[in-house]
Amino acid sequence: MNSLNNLVKNSWRTAVVLVLLLCVFPAQAVEIRFVTWRETQGFLDRLIQDFEAQNPDLKIVREIGPHSSTEFHDLVGQKFKNRDPEMDVFFMDVIWPAEFASAGWALPLDRFFPPDEQKKFLPAAILANTYQGHIYGVPLFVDTGLLYYRRDILQHYGFAPPRTWPELVEQAKTILAGVNDAQLSGFSGQFKQYEGLVCNMMEYIASRGAEVWDEQALKSALHLPEAQEAVRFVRDRIVGEISHRGVLAYQEPESLALFTQGKAIFHRNWPYAWEESNDPKKSKVAGKVGMTPLPAFPGGKSASTLGGWQLGISRFSRKPEPAWRFIRFMTGEATQKRIALATGRGLARKDVYRDAEILKKYPHFQTQFETSMQAVPRPRTPVYVPLSNIMQRYFSSAIAVRDSNVDKLARLASRDMDRVLDLLRERARP
């Protein structure tokens, strides 16, 4: 009783102490929840530390999602379906902005990210983040398909890096015949039935001068003869002649492991494979690796599928302004340069590719820049996931079976794709 009386009597003193305490310990920092995948190269930790040091009023809370893009999509999608206000900033694969924008899940960033700023980024990456005239994400990483090859072996045989797909097959066959090593594979890529298969196959189709869809007409183009021809080429010559059947179950890690173990002559992968295959701790072929744009079909142009990761803000976030401060930091010039130097990965800002220090450390950034300027985007539409599942089914069925009826499968796939695309036409109706 006595102590309570004292407390009430001395309440003004308590208030003074409280005010003093508040001055010493400032208001608790605002928490920004960032949904990301596990980053293994260690740059994200340091960046977040630096950001928090520069912005003491903000604290970044990381939530780690699965590494596979498909599974990450389902995690983020589930949060949106629950209208989860906890998630503020999230990583977005290059194929999601249209879907997340259309579903009303991603916040339009026009007020934060005006066209003047957008101009400083690679145009393909900006286009991928634009849907119906609004921008929904800020590109951080830009990935493009690249051809890695064993420089030492090609030199030994007097071959220049192949410019066309048939040339690549012929070179591989000559080398395989000469080496006589049953474990050596001519080519390793990603041919499992999953999203990566679409990326790989689009590169053959586009470098044959064909497309997977007609964006204007909203129609599939898979059944057209050139597109079918590219698919047959993969079935008969890439998988059929110079690769092991195992590639039909390979994603990026398995196909890269084959190459870094010295068991593949040619390898298709994203820019991150450069650092991985030249790291003596991880790779038996470090220092023997060359990199060049992907081959084309005779008369066609080299084509790389556009990949990469963007940062977006959730429509259900209660803190879009602080969230934007974090995105601006992550995608700013200084940060992108730091990430480039630390990882060798392709970034979204154009000036990264003109920076003398970066070009000195990573001469291959020149190749990366060229391929990203002509990268082929996957269909930019809110129904991309169903389209992708149809394409994955078609491509896998066409190349995993030696005598597959490509024409029939392609027509079925086109019919299914058209049915999905027809849904978009209903928009016009009131």
Partner: protein, 296 residues
């Protein structure tokens, strides 16, 4: 006053509420959604009532029919093998020998491992380059190495093997429980009659353990219909849709593509199939038990 006269109602109320909230409500919600066209990524299309359209599409969807075939093959192969293997294991575990307790525990280990973990393990075993599968079959003859998960015939087989490895122990557990209810006197009597081991198995063990076998078969069949995680980890439905089981197809439609209505129709289809199977088995089991009591 009635409530007081029948307190049983109050006792079952909590469990009824539990089942209602966590089982009945989701089932009814799925059934309702399966009559609508609802696509999450196209919100402006709204939630449109389409009657039986989703089911009509499902019945003519070649991918779904192919998935159904694969699922049925998977169920038939795994359920039968698991029950036969489980019976064999149970017969061994029912004998008395030194270290039986330890062996009983060890046999259950595969079943206790989470499926996601064991699937990852089998994915490594079936790897075309460094997998144990190839090494055991071909040793260092690497030119003969197979790529099971890249082959449209071997991939379903790989999934069947993984499932049999994992859940035979579960079947064994149920059969073992059945074996332990057989009174020893029956075997003693058979011995006195001079029955051979085979005759004892055929005339005493098998008829009496049959209800347990049917029960194991029921569990494995229904569980087989729900196979998802093995496929998710090992093949993602590939190659060429060769392992695209129904539940995985439904998952992709619902959660990845956001086609809630069509995905629900697939789920309801799987549910009805399982229900029909369960009812069939229960009638069979019930008939068995009735037969037994009638014979008395």
């Amino acid at each position: 006053m009635r409530a007081r006269s029948n307190p049983a109602l109050w006792y079952i109320l909590p469990s009824f509420l539990f089942v209602a909230v966590f089982s009945l409500y989701p089932i009814f919600a799925s059934v309702r959604l399966s009559f609508y066209r609802l696509i999450l990524t196209l919100p402006w299309l709204g939630e449109k009532f389409v009657g039986l359209e989703n089911y009509r599409d499902l019945a003519t969807d070649p991918v779904a029919l192919h998935s159904l075939t694969i699922t049925l093959i998977f169920v038939a192969a795994t359920a039968s093998m698991e029950v036969i293997l489980g019976l064999g294991m149970a017969l061994v575990l029912n004998e008395s020998f030194r270290g039986r307790g330890l062996l009983r525990a060890i046999v259950l280990v595969p079943w206790a491992i989470p499926t996601v973990v064991s699937s990852q393990m089998w994915r490594f075993i079936f790897n075309d380059r460094y997998g144990m599968f190839n090494f055991l079959l071909f040793g260092d003859k690497t030119q003969l190495y197979l790529a099971p998960l890249a082959d449209t015939l071997l991939a379903p087989l790989a999934i069947i093997i993984s499932d049999v490895w994992k859940t035979s122990a579960f079947a064994a557990l149920i059969v073992l429980a059945g074996l332990q209810t057989i009174p020893d006197e029956l075997y003693e009597a058979a011995d006195i009659d001079g029955a051979t081991a085979w005759q004892k198995f055929r005339r005493v063990t098998l008829p009496l353990v049959r209800p347990a076998l049917l029960l194991a078969l029921l569990f494995r069949t229904i569980d087989g219909f729900k196979v998802f995680d093995l496929v998710f980890v090992m093949t993602q439905g590939g190659p060429a849709d060769a392992t695209n089981v129904l539940q995985f197809y439904g998952y992709k439609k619902t959660f990845a593509e956001g086609m809630i209505g069509y995905g629900s129709a697939i789920s309801v289809g799987v549910f009805l199939f399982s229900l029909a199977l369960a009812l069939g088995y229960i009638r069979l089991l019930g008939a068995r038990i009735l037969e037994k009591s009638g014979a008395k």
